[in-house]
Symmetry: C2
Subunit: 340 residues, 2 copies
DNA sequence: CTGAAAGCGCTTACAG
DNA sequence: CTGAAAGCGCTTACAG
């Protein structure tokens, strides 16, 4: 198999300089029509394809953006990756993904090694020193950290939690439970705060179980809930996985959802509407989030390439969550002897 | 903010040549201890980090592997991505992902542009001309195409389907249905073939509904099934999503799973064991598949770098699927008047 | 053990 | 409109 053609090969076949080949390819109207013709023929004859790595080095760009997420296998990220990749691909950018828990030193290198022009960060738990040490355009997506000097994109998690609480209050629930996210996670913290504030505003009895975003955390919370002397009639879980785990465990223990307990999730993952019962949840517009992050990082990367200043200081952007009412929530069972 | 330090800056600060800096960093024992010391100090003082893009161009490597999949948001791929990235990261390789449906020309470029050293391909539906035109090490994972000249990694889908059929036969089912994958997909085709052969071997009545790997396809199949005069007592779906859609729709229509119909899925996605009922399914060892593919492509890439020949011709490798029995399958209901 | 020089494959002022 | 030359930031024979 013949080695790949280089620009030199095209140039000598066409009888022009490499500079001319380069120009004919990147800005065709800066060369004469006859020359362009000759070059194009030589390109076809040699099967030449540009070596992007060489071009990028010369132009001091990478034409690539890096997505950093704490767990690549988390189903929550799939749609986000897809949306980012689609937008990036449209403007000729390549997409790299990496787990964000690869160790401090490797993480530091990422922002320096010339292989990415910009970073979309889905993890608020990285040492701010590392993040702020990167010399690359950066946007925080979904999760964030106040110490990172970078714009944020995502929903208002407090307001989103309020959507869930209000729905439950409107249904007539007075005693509600929240299975929280992991304690160190901003998303979980804000959802919990929103839950507590909204419950207070509606005069509800509110309790919190510390949890996580996992199926297992939900299942465990369900066991605690089942063991309670007086059980809250509704629960708001910090994620859909958690809610699914909660429901699953409840059903196995002989309870009915929603008649024994109403359950609201968070995210609206793909299976939420196919679960039995279909899950009432707060939808995060994941594709929109991915698209917005891609658009933003592209803008920053291009802006920087164009020499614009303070393009890195663009503001935070909020996307809208939505309450999706399905079958896992309903009116609370009247307690025997309770007033109408 | 100071521009990033280059190797030149380190060299002049340390009072040595760039060659020496390069050596001190990449093979420390080829330089004198005193020199090494000086260089390391200068590295620290300048905050120097190697520019990987430049090194890679010089070495004619990309230190990156590309994953190509037909739908990045498909939850099936998450664990595979994670496993590949982990293995790659361990040997200093970067991971790129791209949707494989980005158009012929872009696809062609991927194998030529110097930005990847090898490709893990999760799509058997690309034009073989394109795939075989790539000049890069390549492995086919999960899906494949006989016309691609590249090793294959994945399970034996016929044998896997037989696992499902045997389970159903052992339970006492005599009349079974298969909701197939999309007609053009090798995975679906092999599962269907395995289903048909195994059913024949067990002397069962077998029928096939053409389907897809989606929730919606399963739901639609359930509607057809429900409308049948005599309904098969068990169904084997080509994917878990399809099975979940099937069950969900059955339950909504008032049927019980498994007492009215046993359902087996395929893949063992994360929610399979939390679904209600928990889904009996064929497990594909996705993390193992990702790891094996990564190991293989790394071996090919390194082998090529080391100048070994015919490293691209390594053989196909089969991983083992497993039957996971949960609650969506059971003994068929005795038909009224049927013999014991 | 160390340095000067060439080169990876491109692009882009600078001249003409 | 086109070419010669420098250079992106490294590495690596080749000498010494």
């Amino acid at each position: 198999m013949r080695a790949r053609a280089r620009i030199k090969d095209v140039a000598s076949l066409a009888g022009v300089s490499t500079a001319t080949v380069s120009r004919a390819l990147s800005s065709p109207d800066t060369v004469g029509p006859a020359t362009r013709e000759k070059v194009m023929e030589a390109v076809k004859a040699t099967g030449y394809r540009i070596n992007a790595a060489a071009r990028d080095l010369r132009q001091r760009r990478a034409r690539s953006i890096l997505i950093l997420a704490p767990d690549l296998s988390n189903t929550f990220f799939g749609k986000i990756f897809a949306a980012i990749q689609e937008e990036a691909s449209d403007v000729g950018l390549t997409v790299q993904i990496s787990d964000s828990r690869i160790g401090r030193d490797r993480l530091l290198s990422l922002g320096y090694d010339g292989r990415a022009d910009g970073i979309v960060l889905l993890d608020g738990g990285i040492d701010p020193e590392v993040v702020n040490g990167w010399k690359l355009p950066l946007v925080q997506l979904s999760e964030w950290n106040d110490e990172y000097r970078a714009p944020r994109l995502g929903i208002d998690n407090r307001a989103a939690a309020r959507l869930a609480v209000d729905h439950l209050a409107d249904l007539g629930h007075r005693d509600i439970l929240h299975v929280s996210g992991p304690g160190e996670n901003v998303l979980g913290v804000e959802r919990q705060e929103g839950f507590l504030m909204a419950a207070a505003d509606r005069g509800m009895t509110a309790t919190v179980f510390p949890g996580a975003f996992t199926l297992e955390a939900g299942a465990q919370a369900a066991r605690h809930w089942a063991a309670l002397a007086t059980r809250p009639t509704a629960v708001f879980c910090a994620s859909d996985e958690c809610a699914l785990g909660f429901i699953s465990e409840c059903v196995h223990a002989g309870f009915d959802v929603p008649s024994d307990v109403s359950v609201v999730g968070f995210d609206d993952i793909d299976f939420a509407d196919r679960f039995l019962p279909a899950l009432t949840t707060i939808r995060q517009p994941r594709a929109d989030m991915g698209r917005a992050a891609a658009a933003r990082i592209i803008q920053m990367v291009e802006g920087r390439a164009a020499g614009s200043d303070n393009v890195d200081a663009l503001p935070t952007e909020r996307l809208e969550p939505a309450l999706i009412i399905r079958s896992s929530t309903g009116t609370p069972k009247r307690k025997p002897g309770a007033p109408a």
